[in-house]
Symmetry: C2
Subunit: 682 residues, 2 copies
């Protein structure tokens, strides 16, 4: 063995030792202490104990340094915010101290400077919505069964292993500032309010509490009649009002810091106040009154649409705007980011900024229902950043979506933001190692809605993929290219799935593959893709201009005018707002059809490029996560091809124009895709 190869072997051994088998269970919480730290803290509590333990376990500052944790009122510090000082952390509350500790450790572990700074949360409540069912299944869950619920005789039993897992979950959330969890699906089971179920909620709340996390529940609006023995669930009925008051009281007896309810009412078949001739405000306020004595809140979803409307995108606005100002101050209207449903790209919902006398919160979807499930690598922060920074013009320039919800523009007693969780029993929590970044990013943006997706990706990669000791070039050959992949990944998904304003052309049910052709007789039209793409030989796209559904008029000047004219409408939203001829001339000079083709092809090429980047990164990652991500990227690559081929060949039947000959030809016949991929995942 010559010198060179012996050094090589030595490095290989070192690397092998470092890059041990790795299932991703540790998320971004990997920093190990490199020295000791002296902690000074006048008080003690379970939350402060956690803060101290974290400091000791993860300290990477000066050896033997002293850190002071001080709970001391300071008007500059808001809510659970904190002040980072050169010698410690100051906060108004115990969770504030804990958040400061995590920030300090994060800065140490990512090599950022520690300087005096005050960090206040953008939202009072930063909440995960778990769409978990009492039987353990998760609606739109792609990472295994529920961490909270399980099927079977002992479904409500709580084991030590449950508590260990919940504690890890709570720690991960606290580390990024998440302080609330709705423990069950918005399509709620009435069982959730039964005594044995609430006992389990109490057990969960007890584990989450020291980490500053409040529990919330989704409830079924018709619970009074379903499990309460009442004849009605009419929100103005005194017995109903009383039933809810009793239920809430009972909950607070078990869980004194309970957060509140999340309600999906009169939406997709769920019961609601309209079943009794009442309004959303009647329903929400009745519940809010029950919570008033305890400081709880009601999050009332604006995700409503009916099969008869000519444009689903208009309906939430039409239904809720007339109620603006009629809601109690402990009601927050929870509005999905876009007007339709968590699509790869939508314009922001026009309710943001329009409801000026009502508290409004954004509902983001962390789980990738429409973005490749846990198969595609799609980093969602760029999408959320695009949304939060969208200019609504409702209060002049600068009235971006973020400010319409964080209390800086309108008086809101409570502010909040919600993310539909992507968490399950999979060892790596999220199915795809990179899907952890979306959980992370949601928390970070909920804490600070001004953060850039680039900054969050940088942090997450540094924390999640430890730098190998032999890899001095890690920044150049791992961090930079992998971050680039993350930042580009959402636009790639838009390209290969639904570019230029296309939306909801998914295969039915599972929302994974393409399905622009899907529209069987008897299915309500607004559940079929042709309703959304409106392709015919004359053109393609949904006419939402003043001559069409007039959805544009729900936006404030100058947006409504800009959106209304295809020449000024941003091309990313073109087919959202316009039905245009296939030979419509785009800004590039190409026809709309050609541009559609190039976008789909670009998406495929981008995924192939991601594969190259990842394969090259192999020396810098542990083998287990490397292989897992490599395999997912291959699957994504195949699926991107299916998307491109399926959509282009389907739309070509209307455009009757050739796919530009300089791009790669389809690999699949349309018939083959329809037969093999409409319902099932490849």
């Amino acid at each position: 063995m010559n010198m060179k190869s012996s050094i090589g072997s030595f490095i290989l051994i070192l690397t092998a030792l470092h890059l041990h088998a790795e299932d991703g269970h540790n998320l971004w919480l990997r920093g190990k202490s490199t020295g000791s730290v002296n902690i000074v803290c006048a008080r003690s509590s379970s939350t402060l104990s956690i803060a101290k333990q974290e400091l000791e376990q993860g300290w990477q500052g000066k050896d033997e340094a002293t850190v002071v944790l001080a709970i001391k009122k300071d008007k500059a510090i808001k809510g659970d915010g904190f002040k980072l000082t050169t010698n410690g952390i100051q906060a108004n509350t115990e969770p504030g101290i804990l958040y400061g500790v995590y920030e300090l450790l994060r800065r140490q572990q990512t090599g950022q400077s520690i300087q005096e700074v005050i960090s206040n949360p953008s939202y009072e409540r930063r909440i995960l919505n778990h769409w978990d069912n009492p039987d353990g299944s998760i609606e739109r869950g792609y990472a295994g069964l529920s961490i909270f619920w399980r099927k079977g005789e002992n479904g409500y039993a709580v084991t030590e292993n449950d508590k260990i897992l919940w504690r890890k979950y709570a720690r991960a959330n606290a580390s990024i500032g998440i302080n609330g969890a709705v423990l069950n699906n918005v399509n709620a089971s009435p069982l959730m309010l039964t005594a044995e179920c609430l006992e389990k909620v109490k057990a969960i709340a007890d584990v989450l509490r020291p980490y500053g996390i409040k529990t919330y529940l989704s409830v079924k609006f018709s619970s009074p009649s379903l499990i309460g023995g009442l004849k009605t669930s009419d929100p103005l009925d005194p017995d109903v009002i009383n039933w809810w008051k009793t239920r809430v009281k009972e909950i607070y007896r078990l869980i004194p810091d309970f957060g509140g309810f999340l309600i999906k009412a009169n939406s997709e078949g769920q019961p609601g106040p309209q079943d009794f001739g009442r309004t959303h405000a009647d329903g929400a306020n009745m519940m809010a009154d029950a919570f008033k004595p305890y400081g709880g809140i009601v999050m009332w979803r604006a995700f409503v649409y009916s099969p008869n409307s000519t444009d689903r995108a208009c309906q939430a606005y039409n239904e809720f705007m007339p109620l603006d100002g009629q809601f109690r101050d402990n009601v927050i209207i929870q509005v999905k980011n876009g007007p339709v449903d968590f699509q790869p790209r939508e314009p922001f919902s026009p309710l943001f900024g329009a409801m000026k006398k009502t508290s409004v919160m954004a509902e983001l979807q962390i789980t990738q229902e429409y973005l490749g499930h846990s198969i595609h690598l799609v980093y969602l922060a760029p999408m959320w950043e695009e949304f939060l920074k969208s200019e609504t013009w409702q209060e002049g320039t600068g009235s971006i979506v973020a400010r319409t919800t964080d209390g800086s523009l309108f008086p809101q007693k409570h502010t909040a933001i919600a993310g539909v969780a992507n968490i399950g029993l999979d060892a790596n929590w999220c199915g795809h190692h990179f899907a952890q970044a979306n959980w992370y990013a949601f928390g970070r943006l909920a804490w600070n809605n001004q953060l850039t997706s680039e900054k969050i990706a940088d942090e997450w990669i540094r924390l999640t993929f430890s730098k190998a000791p032999a890899s001095n070039d890690w920044n150049e050959y791992f961090l930079a290219p992998v971050k680039q992949v993350m930042l580009e990944s959402r636009e790639a998904a838009v390209n290969y799935m639904m570019p230029l304003g296309f939306h909801h052309i998914f295969a039915p049910q599972d929302h994974y593959g393409p399905g622009p052709w899907w529209g069987p007789q008897g299915v309500r039209k607004d559940w079929t893709p042709p309703y959304y793409h409106q392709a015919d030989t004359a053109g393609v796209g949904f006419d939402r201009t003043t001559k069409g559904s007039d959805a544009v008029s729900q936006y404030h000047e100058p947006l409504n005018s800009l959106f209304n004219d295809p020449e000024t409408c941003p091309e990313i939203h073109l087919l959202w707002f316009h039905h245009l001829s296939w030979d419509y001339k785009m800004k590039s000079g190409q026809t709309l059809w050609d541009e559609i083709c190039y976008h789909y092809d670009k998406g495929v090429q981008q995924v192939r490029q991601f594969q190259k980047v990842w394969d090259k990164a192999e020396p810098y990652v542990d083998a287990e996560r490397f292989s897992a991500v490599q395999s997912k990227l291959r699957n994504q690559s195949r699926n991107a091809q299916i998307w491109k081929d399926g959509c282009l060949l389907y739309f070509q039947q209307f455009s009757k124009m050739p796919i530009p000959y300089d791009i790669e030809r389809p690999m699949n016949d349309l018939d083959y895709i329809i037969k093999n991929f409409t319902k099932d995942r490849p």
Copy 2:
């Protein structure tokens, strides 16, 4: 409508009228007469009637011209050859006249000059081998059921539709000089010699006869005991000898011009003379003696191998060379082009040229058992040309394979060439429109083993894809690029399936997809890919050098020396003859592993390029054949990807080297491919 678009529409209408729906049933026989012709012919017969009819139907020469068909002995004209003169055709035989007519029409229809020329066939017998079973199935058939046989009660009945189809078949064969057809599978059913079966053979022979085509049968060597009631099938047993004589006599009573037998004996479980302690010569000669009185021949296959041998590639030579000179002069040993089995690329079988005192004929495979079935567009003429022009060195320079079989090098009483047919009941006969070109090319090469694959492709495209009247640029935009695709297609298949001398790494049974990993316990080793690729961490390839199986020594100097040394062995055969380390340095300077990767990737890119060429050719082809070929190319493209991914990921387990990062990454995990593609076609 402006002038330009109105002209465009006019051209479109013209094109639409011309490019009518087209199922490919007419093969290359599409020329319609453009004027009248006066035919002078002193004799009359059914063959000459066909000749005259063809001239009248397809005449594209000077209107009112006179053509003289003259049967007149001429020593310069051999066998069924002919002389094309300025005013007609002269031949020794009636089929000679017919072939001359087809040549004349072909020249007219492809725009070649008509000049005085003598054209003699390279082989006396130019035979299709149909691997058709009495139940109508076809072994390795990918174009529907048999045109000759069918299952069921009336399986032996002959309908008018049968005769119409057989006549079309006979005409297509005659047009390219094929003059023989073995009507059934080499894995022969003993039923073939029963009276009712022979009655059907007679009916077929009667249809084929006027087109100059003789019928042959494959027979089972053990027929005497299986259907003859004898206790043995020992070829030296007088009863057995007598039984065969009686059978042959009976056949000639029905079919006076019967061609002879094709025998697969002691091969892959088929019975043969070795079962009785006799040699192949004993078996073949016994049968040949029975045929002697009638002028019939016995084609005895050299496709033999046993599970115990260390190298299957050596066995035919080992078994047959000792028998050289022991066969009757009406026996021809039928040898597959390569030493193993119709692989995408093999070196020629060393029996060619080595057996100097025995008639030897080549067996080519027109049906694409190992070349993508009727899914992949693979034009086989370049492979056959490579084979026929291979230098054996057996009689010094110029002793190419073609000459070792056509009687120009060795005295052979009979010469022949066989092609395993790709014909079935599909409307387009061959499954893939371009597979017709392989039937065509076989016939043309059998007639003239000096033809180039380029010349044949040119002819075939011109005859098969009519030039649209509005397409003055047809030559440039259709003929040239499509011909290029055809000429490149076999090398592309080699690249994406088994480059650099890889062979027989197919999925089991169907021989369509990759299967280098396939080697279950209990399966004989020489039926599993690892036997052929011999991959291990030290390297890959089958060592057939003097230090290995010594197969090289079956070749004549200097080939044996050239093949024996990896530095001089042609790289196309490298892993056929050598087991080399993964980092073996290739002539390009790259490692063997990298070169393997680049070849697989190149194959995929080539197919994608074929797709582009074909899609661009759309304006020049009828819609029906355009779509059919487009769809096949997409399937081929997917399958090429599966081949590349499967082989590279499998071999990478041994090479432990990265796939070069400048080539496209696999789209499929190895597990996924093994699970989904090992047995089934995608």
